[in-house]
C-alpha cells in the first residue's frame, strides 16, 4: 500500500450513527494531512437538509439516543470544525438533488457543491474509499 493521503467517503445511509462515524473518521483524517472528500447520496441526503438539521430530525438507533442524551457534538458540527482545520470537501449527489428537486440552499452550508458520479470517480482516483 502506498502512502495514505487521500480518503473518499461515500455516505449513503440515513442512519444517524453512520453519519456520525463518517464525520469522526473524516475529521481525524482531515487533521492528519489526509485529503478527504465525502459524497452524500441516496437517503443520506436527508441528514444534510437544513430543515431536518434545524429540527434535529434524524433517524437513529440506540447509540444515537445516547449521543443525544450525553450531548455529544453532532456530526455536522464535527464536519464544520474539520473543514476549518484541514482539507475536507463535502459533495451532494446531483442525481438525488434532481430527484428531490433540491437546490444548494436547501442543504446545510458545510456542503461545498453537488457532483455527478463521473466527477466523484475522478476524486476517488488513488483514494482509499469507505462506504457508509
Amino acid at each position: 500500500m502506498g502512502e495514505f493521503n487521500k480518503l473518499a467517503i461515500i455516505l449513503e445511509s440515513e442512519d444517524y450513527e453512520k453519519a456520525h462515524v463518517a464525520a469522526m473518521i473524516a475529521s481525524v483524517a482531515a487533521v492528519s494531512c489526509i485529503e478527504v472528500s465525502i459524497f452524500v447520496t441516496m437517503n443520506a441526503i436527508y441528514n444534510f437538509l437544513k430543515v431536518n438539521v434545524k429540527e434535529n430530525k434524524f433517524t437513529g438507533g440506540k447509540i444515537f439516543e445516547k449521543l443525544k442524551e450525553k450531548k455529544a457534538q453532532m456530526f455536522y458540527d464535527m464536519l464544520d470544525q474539520a473543514k476549518m482545520f484541514g482539507g475536507l470537501k463535502i459533495y451532494a449527489c446531483s442525481m438525488v438533488m434532481d430527484l428531490l428537486d433540491l437546490k444548494k440552499e436547501d442543504l446545510i452550508d458545510i456542503v461545498d457543491d453537488h457532483l455527478g458520479l463521473a466527477a466523484f470517480l475522478g476524486i476517488m482516483e488513488g483514494a482509499q474509499t469507505i462506504t457508509f
Binding site: 469522526m24 475529521s27 481525524v28 487533521v31 492528519s32 494531512c33 449521543l67 450525553k70 455529544a72 457534538q73 464535527m78 470544525q81 474539520a82 482545520f85
Partner: protein, 84 residues
C-alpha cells in the same frame, strides 16, 4: 524524559465532557493559536484520546511529552515544535 509532574504547561485545555475525537480537536484548536515552543496540556475524560492524541502528534510531527493518568481523567502533554 523529564518528570511530567514537573512540566508547567503554557496552556491547559479541559476537554472533559467531549467524546472522541473531541479532545484531539480541542488540542488542535489550541495548538493552531499557540506559538512554536508552547506546551499544551489537554485534560481528557475519554480513555481513547490518551492513545489517539500521541498517534496524531507523531503523524503531524509535533512533540508528545507524555500522559498522566489521574482518577477518571488523563492529562496529555504536547509541545508545538513547528507551525501548522
Amino acid at each position: 524524559m523529564a518528570d511530567l509532574k514537573d512540566i508547567k504547561a503554557d496552556v491547559v485545555v479541559d476537554a472533559r465532557g467531549t467524546y472522541c475525537p473531541g479532545p484531539l480537536m480541542e488540542l488542535i484548536k489550541e495548538m493552531r493559536q499557540q506559538p512554536v515552543g508552547a506546551v499544551i496540556e489537554v485534560i481528557s475524560g475519554d480513555a481513547g484520546s490518551a492513545k489517539d492524541v500521541p498517534e496524531w502528534l507523531k503523524k503531524v510531527n509535533q512533540e508528545f511529552l507524555g500522559v498522566l493518568e489521574e482518577n477518571n481523567y488523563w492529562r496529555i502533554f504536547a509541545k508545538k515544535t513547528k507551525e501548522m
